[in-house]
Symmetry: C2
Subunit: 125 residues, 2 copies
């Protein structure tokens, strides 16, 4: 499943996936190692739970993350990045670098984030 594309421009098309206030924040959070719904819901940015549920559903539908049950009774899930999702890392790094250069008083990115490569963030297929 794919979004509706406004054009075939690769920049605009990527924004048809990520062009909203929350999708990349959720991806950043999973990349940072939070895998359970409640852990993701607890981010400092205070995402509304209906928005989080919607973004997780869309990210899974688009193939950027996958969801696996980690227990039964009751069934609970763990989210993780696919290769397609981990490949968003350079976008996140570029965003963070821009903020570091142009927005005062931001948190310093950890080395694992700055120097990381997509392959480091998804389990070997």
């Amino acid at each position: 499943m794919l979004p509706e594309f406004r054009s075939q421009c690769p920049v605009a098309s990527a924004l048809d996936f990520f062009g909203d206030r929350w999708t990349l924040v959720v991806l950043r959070t999973i990349l940072a190692g939070r895998r359970r719904y409640s852990e993701i819901a607890a981010i400092p940015e205070k995402i509304a739970t209906n928005v989080l549920a919607d973004r997780l559903e869309r990210l899974e539908a688009y193939g950027l993350i996958s969801k696996a049950p980690y227990q039964t009774n009751p069934r609970r899930y763990r989210y993780s990045l696919t290769a397609k999702g981990a490949d968003v890392l350079p976008v996140l790094q570029a965003l963070a670098a821009w903020s570091a250069a142009h927005v005062p008083d931001r948190w310093t990115s950890p080395a694992w984030f700055v120097d990381g490569r997509p392959r480091d963030f998804y389990p070997a297929a």
Copy 2:
């Protein structure tokens, strides 16, 4: 003038500037050399004119673009990138690279875009 920040995370903060469907599309368009309102309004993605006017106003308020009159009677404007706006180039390149790798049938990015550096896109200060 700055947006309201949801947190001090550099990724989330960049998205407080760019996290919507249109801001980066407008920036891409100006970077590609379209400088007048009507030229920007004519992009294939069909941006609504109220949204375009709003994004230009915000981008100027945030210091990413500047607006200079290029004629009087009637007064008309030319938009161009500031250093802060041109520094968004790596974000656009990362988005385009992601699409090239993961979305079928996108347009191929021109070499000036793929190999460009921010300094190439704003008039020497």
